[in-house]
């Protein structure tokens, strides 16, 4: 309301001022006009009063002239034409009349030249001459209108013409010239009329067309008959008057005054505008001056207002430009798009320039049609539904979350569209703000993902803890339970052994569980590192076979190892971790493959060239086990994940094995993939790149004169693999797939005098197995050809039978040329070959040994003491590293066979103690075998132990078999302390 009032205040005031000025002006000019009319009338009367006076004088002069002439004629003695003509001509020059007449008594006029005409000057129609001076109108025979002044004179005679009056005539032009009436710029008509309105003369230059002015006024003016009668009465009464009337379209002043002669009236008709011209000129000038002043003041005021407005406008414009520029700069630096729309036609009034950067839409395109933004929409085809727009109340707002695609980059971005409806200078507008919420959205998504992951991890850990609780309690329950039973049944040796075996098994499971947890924890903490060293791939595979084959055999599973191509045998890598990876995969395959199933382990070279210093190897572990669901395949490498089903629930596991495997593969820069179908089996593929050591010389085969060999296996693929592996050795490989064919081939070769230099037989073949085939070959060919058996199985059960049949040695699958060479080399060097036996621990390896045991834990020390005692060995215990060092230094050389060194001990730990021993002056300081015996089981721990100068690593709790193997190896005759250094058995 207040705004409305303020808006109208100024115009209302201006209008009031102007109205007041106009009213004052109107009153003023009305007054002025009235005064002008009055003054004009006076002025008119004055002018025509003078005219009247002049006319009176003119008449008087004429009559005076005529009287004078009359007297002159009276006195003259006879009027001759010449003198009269001369006199008349002279006077005409002086007075300006047209003609002179002698008038006879009967009304005939005669000019000095003798021309006669009838003249009715008295208006009686009887043609009498005037008896007193008269003034009358007269029409000449030519039609010309004349005014005649006549006066009686003494009777006389001229040229035989008797006269008693004389006259002079004037034309209107003559009179006008004589009267010299030229008032009002020729716009006035001035007549001498009689009291009937008849025009005697007109002073108008150029002529006269008015015969009777009263008649003319009756026809042409707006005067009524009564008014006309009044006027005529005035004329008759000799009264002056002034009337205003409209003649045609012109307002005129009619002024009449008696001439004073007869009933003649001097009448003037002047347009009011001409009468008032002078006054009106003053009035107009005054008005003009006032108007000019008013206009100047107004113009000045308007100018000032305009100037002020212009300045204000310029200032506003400048500020607007500043603001627009600042807004453009601001909007170009932020990720918010601003638009202003018309509410009616949705015409774009403004769009911020950053729309091109943020949405890839040109500003001009957006300005032309807002619907261009529809191209950016991802989910909807409209930017904002019209009903949504219309539903926004004035001064209200709404917002939406929407996703737009950048037209240039195709990138999808999230925006919050806030729409305001407001009135700007009484025009409703929509203001749209598109705020880029992509980062926020992504952050929210990441947070959500993290939350989900955390929840998932938490859930997994909860599950893990639950599992662990179950998994730990299960062996612990067994250990505790069987320990109780053992105590009760201590007198029954069978039950004691049975309970002890179950307690041991439970303990081992519990130990593996703890190892996995610790290993995973170590990997996740980022403390795991690789110990890259040269190792033999065949040895690795052999060890795997040794470890896993019994497990597969226990489940009656077929476990085969295939080597495709010719992968390098010596590579650089972390054998321990690779071993861990493959054991995890293979043990899982065995674990999750039902009895009688099939596990295949394939090793092949993926990418290697002769010039390359690296080789990429692919390890494929394939089984036909229970397989995995697709969902679990996506989570199989996640820690603490185990597929829950009726089968897996019966299988012990920590859910960490595959996670550890994945992390180790990642650590080694490789990839691991899984393909699986539920109920059909799984295939894990690991690809790893290894550096290659410098190549060894490979012409040893030829030097040993081994150029021909026979390979016999019912699986031809294996035969072909062996041939491939032997390529490059110069050895010609013949293949047979059954025993009989092999015998025949051997016999035939023998007959040809080209015996095979070595024969390699599979053990288990249909028909004749390897032993039978060997026996047949020996019978027909003799014993000079070495025969080896290649097997994936434990050959200890048939070893005696095989050797009896003539088999010289056993070789584990898979076949490697290097292993093959190592196996047959003793045969060709005539040395006794114990290729397999050497690897096997002796039964009494511990008997009679004296160990220096450094163990701070009294219980562990006691257990170890008892165990070793049971094996026929003795030990002396030091409670810390320092004491161990002191005891060693104090000992006689040869007293101790070996030092079993705990690592974590008070006073001095195992590493420091080892270094102290190695650094001591004792004669056996360098040679005494020191074996780490610790719960620190990680590879780093093994490496640290080796670095400290230890010879091997035994993980706690002590596995007696592992101890036997290490002791047997380290204390074997000829075994140096450096041989096979770094063995770790857990």
């Amino acid at each position: 309301m207040k705004k409305w009032y303020k808006k109208l205040l100024t115009p209302v005031l201006l209008c009031a001022v102007m109205a007041a000025a106009v009213a004052i002006g109107a009153v003023y000019f009305g007054f002025i006009s009235k005064r002008i009319d009055e003054d004009s009338a006076v002025h008119l009367q004055e002018i025509y009063g003078q005219v009247n006076n002049s006319f009176g004088s003119f008449v008087d002069r004429n009559w005076g002239l005529l009287n004078e002439w009359g007297r002159r004629f009276e006195l003259a003695e006879g009027l001759d034409r010449a003198s009269v003509t001369a006199m008349v001509d002279q006077e005409r020059e002086r007075w300006g009349f047209s003609e002179f007449y002698f008038l006879s008594a009967d009304g005939i006029g005669m000019t000095p030249a003798g021309e006669k005409s009838g003249m009715d000057l008295c208006g009686s129609g009887d043609g009498q001459s005037p008896r007193e001076p008269v003034m009358a109108g007269q029409t000449l025979p030519s039609g010309q209108e004349m005014v005649v002044f006549a006066a009686p004179v003494a009777s006389g005679e001229y040229d035989g013409f008797g006269f008693d009056a004389i006259a002079v005539s004037y034309t209107s032009a003559d009179l006008a010239q004589s009267l010299n009436v030229d008032a009002f710029s020729g716009k006035a008509n001035c007549f001498v009329i009689d009291d009937e309105g008849g025009v005697l003369l007109s002073t108008r230059t150029g002529g006269n067309v008015f015969r009777n002015y009263l008649s003319y006024l009756r026809a042409a003016s707006d005067l009524t008959e009564r008014e006309l009668a009044d006027i005529q009465a005035d004329w008759a009464a000799g009264t002056s008057g002034l009337v205003r009337c409209r003649i045609g379209d012109v307002v005129s002043c009619i002024l009449y005054q008696p001439v004073g002669y007869q009933d003649f009236v001097l009448l003037s008709a002047v347009p009011q505008s001409a009468v008032s011209a002078g006054f009106l000129s003053v009035q107009r000038t005054t008005v003009a001056v006032l108007v000019i002043i008013f206009l100047l003041v107004g113009a000045a005021a308007i100018g000032l207002l305009l100037l002020r407005g212009q300045r204000l406008s310029r200032k506003n414009q400048t500020e607007l430009q500043y603001r627009e520029r600042m807004f453009d700069v601001l909007s170009s630096t932020v990720d918010d798009i601003f638009l202003m729309l018309d509410t009616g036609e949705y015409r774009v009034d403004y769009v911020s320039p950053n729309i091109e950067r943020l949405l890839g839409i040109r500003v001009e395109d957006a300005r032309a049609d807002i619907r261009v933004m529809e191209k950016c929409t991802i989910r909807d085809n409209v930017i904002i539904p019209r009903e949504e727009l219309d539903s926004i109340p004035l001064n209200g707002n709404k917002y939406w979350e929407c996703e737009y695609r950048h037209q240039g980059t195709g990138e999808g971005r999230w925006y919050r569209m806030t729409l305001y409806r407001m009135s700007i200078q009484d025009v409703e507008k929509y203001i749209i703000v598109l705020s880029d919420r992509t980062l926020e959205q992504r952050m929210n998504q990441q947070l959500q993902d993290a939350l989900n992951a955390a929840q998932s991890a938490n859930e997994a850990k909860s599950n893990f803890l639950s599992n662990m609780s179950h998994d730990i309690r299960t062996p612990m329950n067994a250990i505790v339970g069987f320990s109780l039973l053992l105590e009760k049944e201590a007198d029954d040796p069978e039950k004691v052994r049975e309970y002890t075996r179950k307690i041991t098994a439970s303990s081992h499971h519990l130990l593996s569980l703890i190892n996995d947890v610790l290993d995973m924890s170590k990997i996740e903490s980022g403390k795991t590192s690789l110990n890259v060293d040269r190792f033999s791939l065949p040895e690795l595979l052999e060890e795997l076979s040794i470890i896993l084959l019994p497990q597969a055999k226990a489940k009656d599973q077929t476990f085969t190892i295939h080597v495709q191509g010719a992968p390098p045998e010596q590579i650089l890598g972390d054998k321990l971790r690779l071993n861990q990876i493959l054991i995890n995969l293979l043990s899982n395959a065995i674990k999750y493959t039902p009895e009688g199933g099939r596990i295949e382990f394939l090793v092949c070279e993926v990418d290697h060239s002769a010039q390359s210093q690296y080789v990429k190897l692919r390890f494929v572990v394939r089984d036909n086990g229970i397989g995995m669901s697709e969902q679990f395949q996506r989570e199989v490498f996640a820690p603490f994940s185990r597929e829950i089903n009726s089968v897996t629930n019966k299988i012990q596991g920590t859910g960490l094995g595959m996670a550890i495997t994945k992390n180790l593969v990642d650590l080694m820069g490789g990839v691991i993939q899984v393909e699986s179908k539920l109920g059909q089996g799984s295939a894990f593929t690991v690809e790893l790149t290894f550096a290659l050591p410098e190549q060894e010389e490979k012409d040893t085969w030829y030097r040993q004169k081994i150029t021909r060999m026979l390979v016999v296996d019912d699986e031809e693929e294996i035969c072909l693999d062996i041939r491939e592996l032997m390529r490059g050795t110069g050895v010609d490989v013949s293949i047979r797939t059954d025993g009989a064919a092999a015998v025949e081939a051997a016999v035939q070769a023998h007959r040809n005098g080209s015996d095979f230099h070595v024969i390699l037989l599979d053990w288990k073949m249909p028909g004749m197995d390897g032993v039978q085939t060997a026996r047949a070959i020996r019978e027909k060919v003799g014993r000079h050809v070495p025969i080896l058996v290649l097997t994936s199985y434990d050959w200890s059960d048939i070893e005696a039978q095989a050797r009896d049949a003539g088999i010289d040695a056993f070789m584990p699958k898979p076949f490697f040329a290097s292993t093959f060479w190592q196996t047959i080399k003793p045969l060709f060097t005539r040395e006794e070959s114990r290729p397999v036996e050497a690897a096997l621990p002796a039964e009494n390896v511990l008997a009679g040994r004296l160990f220096l045991v450094a163990e701070d834990n009294e219980m562990n020390a006691e257990i170890l003491t008892e165990v070793l005692s049971m094996e026929g060995a003795r030990c002396e215990v030091a409670v810390n590293g320092r004491q161990a060092v002191e005891m060693f230094e104090a000992s006689q050389p040869g007293r101790y066979d070996m030092i079993l060194m705990d690592v974590q001990m008070p006073v001095m730990n195992g590493y420091e103690a080892t270094r102290a021993i190695r650094a001591s002056a004792h004669p056996e300081a360098a040679s005494i075998p020191i074996v780490a015996m610790t719960a620190n089981t990680f590879a780093e721990d093994v490496r640290n132990a080796m670095d400290a100068g230890m010879d091997a690593h035994l993980a706690k709790p002590i596995d007696l078999d592992a101890m036997r193997q290490i002791v047997g190896r380290l204390l074997a005759p000829g075994a140096g302390a450096d041989d096979d250094k770094g063995d770790s058995i857990s």
Partner: protein, 429 residues
């Protein structure tokens, strides 16, 4: 009268078409022992009653025979010129003294008649009409005559207290005074009529024959003649001041009579015989209410009257009977013969001794003024290429506001030159 004349000509033409075939026609002359004179003229002209009367009187009185040869009006000029070219020129040749006469090599073919005894008997207007630019009389005017001027309603004017004008100033004053009374001062038939213009142009070319010669020889144009511009300007001013009334653009021939008879209009630029033939007889004002004053249109201070367009008899100086032909003219110019021929014919006199014709009182009353201010009809008849239709068109453009004064003058020139070109093209064999 001119319209009536035109109607009569059309009727005569129609009758001629019914009675004769196209082409020339030779009327049989009465048999006798005298000379046979050949007379050549337009068919309708020769059929006028006063013509046939005088022919009969001549043959009866002299015993000579007249061989009357005529052509249809539309073919007359061409056919007659061919006769002259082919050596078949008549003894007596009837022709209006207009621009077409130049096609007949006047100096070579016709006698000048300055010394004929009947010259003194001719009225000034008639004499002037038949003279060429050098003052030589070319023929005997033997035709209906009329006076064109400003005819005004004297009754109405008297009732309004007004007088007729004696000069241009008074005329303008009168028009203004009449306008102030609410009457239409001048009935101006702007719709297709243009004779008013030729009235105004007459004094320009009659008073200054050299202008006519220069105009016809294309040495000058209308635009070079100040009086022409003055006249156009006067018309434009009069229209602006309302002197023609409010509907003059729709006023044509048919509206003149009602306007004058009703008193709606006070004056008209017309001719005397129009009042006998065209003025409504049952109107408020009749013939007796009208009088005549000169035409004032800015080209003559004291005004002008236009004399009639007269057919004149010319004598072939190369003919076989020149003397007989001259005698025939003298016969016709004898008072008793022309009074016998024009007995009862409404016409202004061509001869001073003409007494049997019916002459308007309006003309008689204005005789002095007519004698002082009459001009030969010059513009329409002697300006080469003059076309009343073209003039009407040019002024219609002016008065309807499509052009201004100079533009109107330009149009007059443009149309006239176009007409000349058209005539030249038509004359090409």
């Amino acid at each position: 009268m001119k319209r009536g004349l035109f109607s009569a000509m059309l009727l005569g033409l129609a009758m001629a078409l019914l009675l004769t075939a196209c082409g020339g026609d030779t009327a049989s002359a009465p048999a006798g022992d005298g000379v046979t004179l050949t007379v050549l003229g337009k068919k309708t002209d020769l059929e006028k009653s006063y013509m046939t009367r005088v022919f009969d009187l001549y043959e009866q009185a002299t015993g000579n025979r007249l061989e009357i040869r005529s052509y249809e009006d539309s073919d007359f000029e061409t056919a007659a010129a061919k006769d002259f070219a082919d050596g078949k020129a008549p003894d007596i040749f009837l022709h209006f003294h207009n621009a077409d006469l130049n096609r007949f090599d006047v100096a070579e073919n016709f006698l000048t008649l300055n010394d004929e005894p009947w010259v003194e008997d001719l009225t000034d207007g008639a004499l002037a009409y038949c003279q060429d630019g050098r003052g030589d009389l070319l023929g005997l005017p033997f035709w209906e005559n009329s006076v064109s001027g400003c005819y005004y309603n004297k009754t109405l004017l008297d009732s309004l207290g007004l007088l007729p004008a004696a000069n241009q100033t008074e005329f303008d004053m009168l028009c203004q005074a009449l306008a102030e009374t609410g009457y239409t001062p001048i009935c101006w038939p702007a719709n297709g009529c243009s004779w008013m213009i030729q009235f105004a142009l007459d004094p320009v070319f009659a008073d200054q024959p050299e202008l006519l010669e220069k105009l016809n020889s294309r040495q000058i144009a209308y635009a070079d003649i100040p009086q022409v511009t003055d006249m156009v300007q006067w018309v434009a001013d009069a229209a602006d001041k309302g002197w023609f009334g409010g509907s003059f653009l729709q006023t044509g021939w048919d509206e003149i009579s009602p306007a004058l008879a009703s008193g709606e209009a006070v004056m008209a630029l017309i001719w005397d015989t129009w009042f006998y033939t065209d003025l409504e007889q049952d109107g408020q004002y009749t013939l007796d209410d009208f009088a005549l004053m000169p035409v004032f249109m800015g080209t003559a201070e004291n005004g002008t009257y236009e004399g009639g367009n007269l057919n004149m008899m010319m004598v072939n100086k190369n003919g076989a009977h020149v003397d007989e032909a001259l005698a025939f003219l003298r016969f016709c110019a004898t008072p008793e013969n022309y009074n016998a021929a024009f007995d009862g014919i409404s016409t202004v006199s061509c001869f001073k001794g003409q007494t049997t014709n019916i002459q308007s009182g309006m003309v008689t009353d204005a005789a002095a003024s007519i004698a002082a201010n009459e001009r030969v009809s010059t513009a329409a008849s002697r300006i080469v290429g003059y076309s009343s239709d073209d003039v009407a068109a040019a002024f219609e453009a002016l008065l309807s506001g499509r052009t201004d004064v100079s533009g109107c003058v330009g149009l007059l020139d443009e149309y006239r030159l176009a007409e000349i070109e058209a005539q030249s093209a038509a004359d090409q064999p």
